[in-house]
Structure formats: C-alpha cells, structure tokens
Amino acid sequence: MSKMKMRMSRFAALALVASATLASAARAADVDHRRLVDADKNPADWLTYHGTYRSWHYSGLDQINAGNVNRLKVAWLHATPKSTRGLQSFPLVADGILYYSGSYNQVFALDGASGDLVWAYKQKLDDDLVSKQTHSPYNRGIALGPGSIFMGTLDGKLVALDQRTGKLKWETPLVDSKKLTVGFTGAPLFVNGKVIIGAQGGEWPYRGPIFGVDAATGKLAWTFFTVGGTDENDPARKTWGGDSMKTGGGGGWMAGGYDPKTNTVYWGTANPAPLYDWGGAEWKTKGARPGDNLYTTSVIALDPDTGKLKSYHQELPHDAWDFDSAVGEFVMLERGGKEYIVHPNKGGFVFVYDRNLKVQNVWRGVKNINFVKDIDPKTGELVGRRDMAEGKHEALCPYIAGGYSWNAGSYNPGTGLYYKVGNEWCMDLEVVKTTPVLEPMAQLNIGSNFTVLKTTPDGGKARGHVTARDPLTGALKWQVDFAEPPLASLLSTKGNLVFVPDARGYLRALDARTGKELWRHNNGQGHNGGIISYMAKGRQYVAVATGWGGLAGDDYKVLYGEPFASMPTDQGALVVFGL
C-alpha cells in the first residue's frame, strides 16, 4: 500500500470514526418522548431506570444466552470514586454511551464498548448538610431526556447536565434540605417534557412531595404532596388527626412508571411518620397520626402535565409497620386483552391492578408475614391487622427492611414469568411514644427500638430467595434459596437468562426457565444496585453495579458475620461483562 493510500485510508478511517461519533452524539441528543415510548423496540439501549416505561427490567438482546453464558468474561470496569455506602445506582445507555451516577451525586459518561471516559461530573454539595443525613450519600439513578441527564441531589435540587459534555445546564432547588435534612436519592422519570422526581421522607416529619419540573428550563411545574395532597380541599386531609399532617412523612423515593396510552404516571409513596404508632388498635382515633393517613403507603396515578391526582389505592391504610409502597416497580402487562399493573409492596405482598388502580388480585411473595393475617385478593382490604400499642412486641414479620426491598424484579415476556427477590426475616420491637424532632433540623421519627432476628417463626433462619412466578396469580414456577437475601436488582433477557447479583459478591446467571445456575463470577464485594444489558459496537454487554454498604446491608454484619463483617462499605465499581 502506498503512503498516499495509507494516508487516505487513515483519513477515511478517522472520518468514519468522527462521523460515527458525531452521529452517535446527534442521536444521543434525541432521547425524546417518542424514543422513550418505543424503547422496547431498540434493546441496544437502556433508556430509563426501569428499562422502559413498562418497567420490565428485561433486555431483548440474546447474543449472550443460556447456551454460551459460560463464556462470559469481564470486558471492562470503572472504579467509582468516593463510593461511600457502595454503588447503588442504575446505569443508562443510549447509542453506545453508558451513563451512571455514584455517591455524592457524581455522574460518569463512558464508552459502552471500552469503558473509556467521555466526561465526568461532580455536583457541588453542601458538605455540612450531607454529613448530617442518615440516608445518604448514595444516589440510585438518573434520567435521560432530550440532550440532558437529570439527577436529584442530596441537598434537594434537581439538576440537568448536557448529555454530550456533562456541563451543568440548570439546577432547581426543590426541597429545603437544610431544614428537613432529606433531599433526593432516587432516580427521576422523564415524561414528555417533564422531569418527575419524589423526595425522601417516610422517616422524617414533613409532607413528602413529588415534583414535576419543565425539562427544558428547570422551572417547577407542579408539586404533589403525598401527605394530605396538594389541594387545600383534598379530602385526604381529613385522614390525619390533629396536626399530624404537618409531620406525616410520605415521599416517593423511587422512580415510578408511565403509561403513554393514557398519559398517566404511577408512583409509589412512602410510609407515614412515626413509622410505628403507639395508638395500636385504636389508630383511627388515637396515637401519633389518627386516621388512614392518605396518600402514604399508596400507589397514585398522576397527570404528568399538571400533577393532578387521577386515581389511587392505599395499599396499607394507616401503615404502622414501615411497609411503604415506594419500593415496587410498576410492571405494565397485557393479558387476554386486558391491561394490568403489577406492584410489589414492602410488606411482601404483590398487588395486581388495572390501569385505574382498581385491585384485581393480591398475592403473597414471602412466607414469613404476620403484620396482617392476609390481604383480600378481591378488594385489597387488610385482614387481621397487627396494630402494636406502646410496649414490647415479638417477631414482627417481615423485618423493617421489608419482605421486598427497593431492588427491582424482572418480567420476561418470553417465559411469561416475573422474577423477584424475597426476604424472610423478622424483628422484635418496642413501640415508644415519641415527638418529632424539628429543630435545629428535622431528624428521623421512627417510634420504636427494634432488633433484627436471626431466626424466623417458620423455624428457619433469616434468609432470601429468588422466585419465578406468574405475575398475575403468583403461581410459583421455581425458587432458588439464598442464605442471605440478595439486595440488588434482577435482569432477565431474551437469551433465557436471569442475572442475580448476590450479597456476597457473586453475579449469577440462572436459566430463566428452570432456575438452574449456568454461570457465576465473583466481583469481590456485595451488590446493592442495578444491572442492565445493552449493545455497543455490535456486542452485547451486561453492566452491574458492585459495592456494599446500603442501609439494609448494614444488618448483615450482625445477621451473618463474615464475609459481611469485613466487607468494605466505601468501595464501588461498575463491572461490565461480554462474551
């Protein structure tokens, strides 16, 4: 080859790379409403926290499959700086570029094939405030919109970054975190020009707002208060006795779902405060917060343009156990010509709704439940509540960390199964009459002293499992038991795989049809975040957040000893696998 030809060839190659980069950047700027609605048609991307608006946590890619997963290797990894409390977030991918957030509101953009850094961003935070926070400094996810990355901050702001450069476009203060201590840790949801995000709040004496913000300008469009609603005439206000509404808790600390057909956002709301109410069985008229306490521990349907409430269902009226509804994904399904939403509640039950949030079925996903005797599958009504008055109570199940925690399950349209981690654990507690701490800044308002138990009333140990069930009936197809509950989200794929990032540090690939383990790899530290699959430069990858130290995982030192007693809680890395 002559020098001229070589130069031309190099020039052509450079031009190709440049044009591909530009094309990629140009396309990446177009994560708009239409593309998000159609996200399941392009499995190369992972555009929202829950994968797509259907919240399936499913990848339609099958380059990696049950037949070849035994050849899966680490392709690259990215060490996350300052990973206090591990890495709890969910990566997003658009056009081969991977974006993810870490503790202290850091964001990274990486080449999805090589892991090379495209840009990095670190939010300037009020360090003094962050040091005073309990549920901090982790961040659980970001949102993609047209040309922007959106993130809620620990100190109560919503920020927009330029998707191509990582430069700050706007930031909007939404929560007075200096006063209320809390801010944002959950991922926002971008819907048709609005960025929707819920504040932390269940344990704090406030009214747990959810915000709708204009994505282009950062201007606040609406606020919905999960405690008592926004409208002064909202009948929900009558469900709070005395002044309790002012310090009622609530919030919506995980990303919700969206149905484009009806332009409806679904959000799960957090528990009321204090978590445990000394009113006991007389909770309708006595105690810390007499009444049903709407709209806490509820699923709510909002108009994303206005924030107006369309419908709701309170999963646990007067939640007295901290089993809020914020944890569960909103799995959108269609079967037999009918549309459903499947939503797990922290108490260990799964609620099945129609799109107007009318209960269609309720099934239990864990065995050790005694906060109620049952929940009526036809009406959703609680049967045989265990309301605990002031004093000591033994073996309340589940434990405060939940029968289900915030780690998401996965629905696979190929198998028709819903995969979910369940937790079998309980606790002793002493309910105490407390008063909210409001000055100089709000503090947790729990209402009890509690102790996690190493055993369960069914004669077993505190443990976990991954189940594959029919999402509408709960019928069990298979179950894999874990000595320690996995605390990370699951991923299922078209390649007949279910990936389970476990607590000890193993990433496991199970056969989605049978639960048989096909492959595993030790990532060296526990998993407590997200997992996705995507395509970059023609290859399928699986990216998983590694890093231990979340609030639920903190219990593992006492429950299980090693390896958790010596596991670091200030390390994190995104580990990416390919064939």
Binding site: E430, V432, T435, V452
Partner: protein, 130 residues
C-alpha cells in the same frame, strides 16, 4: 412521668435527666416548653412540651442503627459497654462518621450530650436487674 418502654433503664435515665438537664428546650420539640418546676418534673404527659428523654431519642432517631435502645449491635455498633470514653462518645455524636453515622453538630446542648452519655453508661441487657 412519661417513662415509656424500657422499664427500669428508662426510668433511671429519666431521673438522671431530670437532675441534669438544665436546658429542657432540646431537640425533642420545636416549641418553647414550660420550665421545669422541680427535680421530679421531667416532662408533660404527651406531645409537645416534653423534656429531653434519651430513651425517646433512641426510639425516634438513634435506634435506626443502634438496636434495642443501644443494647445490641444492629446497623450500627452496640453502645452498651462501649470502650469509648465519654469525650469520644460526645465527639462521635457531634461529628458523626462518614458513611456510618450522621453528625448531629450543635443539635444537642452540653447537658443533653452528658445525658446521652449517662444513658449509654447505664444500659443493661434486656431483662437484667436495673
């Protein structure tokens, strides 16, 4: 006498607090409180106006991590029989520990910090003679 919950330990703690807590306008309330009229008066019977009660402080805030009122290890360490000195306990409450414990800064007065230390020093196992 608002001695809830942990029986004798709380009672001992409340009595100790009654004697020690000069500043009753602690972080357990956002409202001005009536001044204590005597050593035996620890708190009003309900809601706002209550005195600084460490057992309640644990049940409201600290117990999230320090199980059974500090008697057992949980998300945070067991406080009963801690080897930390009084000064170290107070320093940890004020400054916190990154990724493990929030800093409470100036949330507590010196008297309240001393009351928390006395509560921790007075912790006994559940069911043990107090």
């Amino acid at each position: 006498m608002p001695v809830q919950g942990a029986g004798g330990a709380a009672l001992a703690c409340a009595l100790a607090l009654a004697a020690a807590a000069a500043d009753l306008n602690g972080p357990m309330s956002s409202r001005p409180r009536p001044a204590a009229s005597g050593a035996g008066m620890v708190a009003a019977p309900d809601g706002a106006g209550e005195a600084f009660d460490v057992n309640k402080l644990f049940a409201g805030t600290c117990g999230w991590c320090h199980s059974s009122g500090g008697r057992k290890a949980g998300r945070g360490p067991q406080l009963m029989d801690t080897r930390l000195t009084d000064a170290e306990i107070i320093a940890r409450i004020k400054a916190g520990k990154t990724g493990a414990m929030p800093s409470f800064g100036s949330a507590f007065s010196d008297d309240q910090l001393q009351a928390i230390v006395r509560y921790i020093r007075g912790l006994k196992p559940e069911g043990a003679p107090q």
